[in-house]
């Protein structure tokens, strides 16, 4: 893929107007491209299309839960659709959106002419596209984790594995770009915090996704050779359990790492000052990432036979991960306090994402306390494994979605060559925050009252009326989130139709992506001087002002 690729030449210096209309690409250009900006757009567009399918699945499963009587004997495709909501939502929408944004922005932020292994990054996208289409096809023929069609289930496992493999390759390209292709003088300590967070997230995912791939291999063997009972005691019914551990803490928190990078990027820009204690922020993001490595905690590695070996670290991680998050929140508050705050939509997305994430991580810590049990007739059970767990996942994943939409708005000039409309863009974070709380808080409460996981059907024995009401409120929250998601897609489409040019640096950014045109040319930068700080454009702007 790779070793014979030449880096593209630097962008030619030009006296042309700094903002130009977006380059039009023919089909052949798109299919054969190695331009990280085109590949990033392809990831984003595909993920947004698949978001519509995931939203439909989410609304169906949530609507079904409003009357919990039906959960005792749900239609056989209920579990299928619920599993699609979780697995596709995480690995075919949110992670690909993150990868798309990073593929596009990270090389610009670090001052690189291209992404490392540009053709490898493009191949990763096409593999993801093929894999995700096959995953959807497998579901359509009654494959999927709970499917009756054995060949369909096998197709699902192989295609899901292909999606994961594609993401591994894409993450290697992103991480390698941050490590090796930074502009001269841009030491790792000066790396912009979004790029740094993507390096950390890539590292965590590279410690997680290979284990997920191994679990997919096991599942395939189980289904292919194991018959009804499965080679390893489970057959097709265990497929989902082997794949869905990635959505439980601590692996769940790997999804949260780019949120920290996004918020750490927007807060200093809109506070019009440097990030308070950039070095400690970098360390806090790294610590959060280290605590989010979670492949050790999966059931297949013997959590039952040696519970003390797993439970104590699990409880420790659940609480310890709050510390770097709280530290970062404190640093952002201090940054805003010392700066001159300017309210703009990217900042609102950052505030909303950080708030939603904090609630999710705090709820995750609570569910690790085994003594807190469900309030039901008879003996209760720990919260983990109830819809409280689904609520925690809901908060964290919606926080990521909020940050990603914020990223689309912030970097729209670089992604689309256009800015999105600021007025509607300001409304969405409020909708996302209210939607997240309205959707996931009822899940926490209904978990406390004994409702099982949202993605695994099962009867509700106690507090039925209360849980029905809570599930209705949760459905309402999901509706708000769906509106916000559709609104985000609408913002992008509206921006594409706009003829207004955004300028190179509409937000007065601090990092190098704002030192090139919107959209950036091939090669990204004509030339860059030695970088001497983590906020080179902020420094240059202030040097000019003082001169």
């Amino acid at each position: 893929m790779t070793v014979i690729e030449d880096a593209p030449a630097a962008a030619p210096a030009s006296s042309a107007p700094s903002s130009t209309a977006p380059t039009r690409y023919g089909l052949a250009d798109v299919l054969g491209t190695g331009d990280h900006k085109v590949v990033g757009r392809l990831w984003i567009a595909t993920a947004l299309l698949q978001l519509l399918l995931v939203l439909a699945a989410a609304i169906y499963t949530s609507a079904f839960r409003v009357d919990t009587a039906g959960l005792a004997d749900p239609p056989e495709w209920y579990a299928q659709i619920a599993s699609f909501r979780v697995l596709a939502g995480a690995f075919m929408v949110l992670l690909p959106l993150t990868i798309g944004l990073a593929t596009l922005v990270v090389p610009l932020q670090v001052g690189a002419a291209t992404i490392a292994f540009a053709r490898g990054a493009a191949a990763a996208f096409w593999a993801y596209l093929l894999g995700s289409v096959l995953v959807i096809s497998a579901y359509a023929i009654d494959g999927g984790p709970f499917g009756d069609d054995t060949e369909g289930v096998r197709l699902f496992i192989i295609s899901f594995g292909l999606v994961v493999l594609a993401e591994v390759v894409a993450l290697i390209c992103i991480a390698t770009t941050v490590v090796t292709l930074r502009a001269p003088g841009l030491r790792l300590a000066r790396t912009p915090l979004f790029s740094w967070s993507m390096l950390v997230a890539s590292g965590v995912w590279l410690l997680t996704l290979p284990v997920l791939l191994a679990m997919a291999v096991l599942s395939y063997l189980d289904v292919r050779y194991g018959g009804a009972g499965g080679l390893f005691g489970g057959g097709a019914t265990s497929v989902y359990r082997r794949l869905a551990w990635t959505i439980d803490q601590p692996s769940l928190y790997a999804f949260a790492i780019p949120i920290l990078g996004y918020v750490a990027t927007v807060v200093p820009v809109f506070a019009r000052t440097r990030h308070f204690q950039h070095r400690y922020a970098r360390n806090a993001i790294g610590t959060f990432g280290a605590l989010a490595v979670g492949a050790w905690a999966i059931p297949g590695f013997g959590a039952d036979s040696a519970p003390w070996l797993y439970e104590l670290p699990w409880i420790f991680v659940s609480f310890a991960i709050l510390l770097p998050l709280l530290g970062l929140l404190g640093m952002w508050a201090q940054t805003i306090r010392t700066g001159r705050i300017r309210i703009a939509s990217p900042l609102l997305y950052g505030i909303a994402a950080a708030t939603i994430l904090l609630i999710g991580v705090a709820a995750g810590a609570v569910q690790s306390i085994e003594r807190i049990e469900t309030i039901v007739d008879g003996p209760g059970t720990p919260l983990f494994g109830t819809s409280w767990t689904s609520g925690v996942a809901g908060f964290v994943l919606v926080a990521l979605g909020t940050a990603l939409i914020g990223g689309l708005v912030l970097w729209a000039p670089k992604i689309l060559g256009r800015s999105v409309a600021e007025g509607p863009a300001r409304a969405l974070p409020i909708l996302l925050l209210v939607g997240a709380v309205t959707m996931s808080l009822p899940d926490l409460i209904s978990g406390l009252f004994g409702q099982g996981l949202a993605d695994v059907p099962g009867p509700v024995a106690d507090n039925v009326d209360l849980i029905d009401v809570l599930n209705g409120i949760s459905l309402l929250g999901l509706g708000l989130l769906s509106l916000a998601a559709l609104g985000a897609i609408g913002l992008v489409l509206q921006a594409l139709r706009s003829s207004e040019l955004p300028g190179d640096d509409p937000w007065e950014g601090h990092t190098l992506e704002w030192a090139t045109s919107s959209p950036p040319p091939a090669g990204n930068f004509a030339s860059l001087p030695e970088i001497t700080s983590e906020a080179p454009l902020y420094d240059a702007r202030h040097q000019e002002a003082s001169a």
Binding site: T2, T176, L206, A214, V217, G226, L231, P529, R541
Partner: protein
């Protein structure tokens, strides 16, 4: 379009000296780590199932099945020698000693083929059906995954070898072969773990 229009003080500064990135080496490190994790994760499940069966007094494999030790040991010795010749390749290339580099490259690939041969021989000696039991399938999958890593490492070394033959990898610019060597070393390290966990502790 560039800094010239936005921040004059940035544009006026002299361009920095380009530096030599180690793109392939770093990416190989990530890829090797990810590949190793797949094998280690599968091995962990194998050990977990083996531990459960042993503690419950059940048989791991059908009666009469014995995991032979000799082919595994031969595989270890072969790969250990290949690690030395791999280091020799990198050292020779860095010193522009092309005859020795080609010789070491040939020996490394030969050891790689020999390792594949020992593993296939081990499978024949084992005479165990793939779907005879869960642990049997896992044994093949774990050792097979490591074998796939070995084949990938050989292809990587072969591609870099062709580049070396073409004169592209010389002196300080032998990064490609260093990257292939790193992947090879990780493959060996993974085999050491597999060898101890499967063939020695049984």
């Amino acid at each position: 379009m560039t800094t010239a229009t936005l921040v004059p003080s940035l544009a006026d500064a002299p361009p920095a000296e380009p530096r030599r990135p180690r793109v392939l080496f770093v990416a190989s490190a990530f890829a090797a780590g990810a590949s190793a994790l797949v094998v280690v994760a599968l091995l962990s499940v194998y050990l977990q199932i083996r531990g459960d069966l042993v503690s419950s007094g059940s048989a791991l494999f059908p009666e009469g099945t014995v995991i032979p030790l000799t082919p595994g040991n031969m595989g270890l010795a072969t790969l250990a020698m290949s690690v030395v010749t791999m280091a020799w390749v990198v050292h020779a290339l860095r010193n522009d000693d092309r005859p020795h580099a080609y010789l070491a490259l040939f020996l490394t690939l030969l050891f790689g083929v020999a390792f594949i041969n020992t593993t296939v021989y081990l499978y024949q000696q084992l005479a165990l059906g793939f779907d005879a039991s869960g642990p049997a399938a896992l044994l093949y999958i774990v050792t097979g995954a490591q074998l796939v890593m070995q084949i990938v490492a050989m292809l990587f070394v072969a591609v870099m070898g062709f580049q070396a033959l073409g004169g592209e990898l010389t002196g300080r610019d032998a990064e490609g072969m260093s990257a292939a060597a790193l992947y090879w070393y990780v493959t060996f390290a993974v085999y050491v773990v597999v060898w101890y966990a499967i063939y020695i502790t049984k």
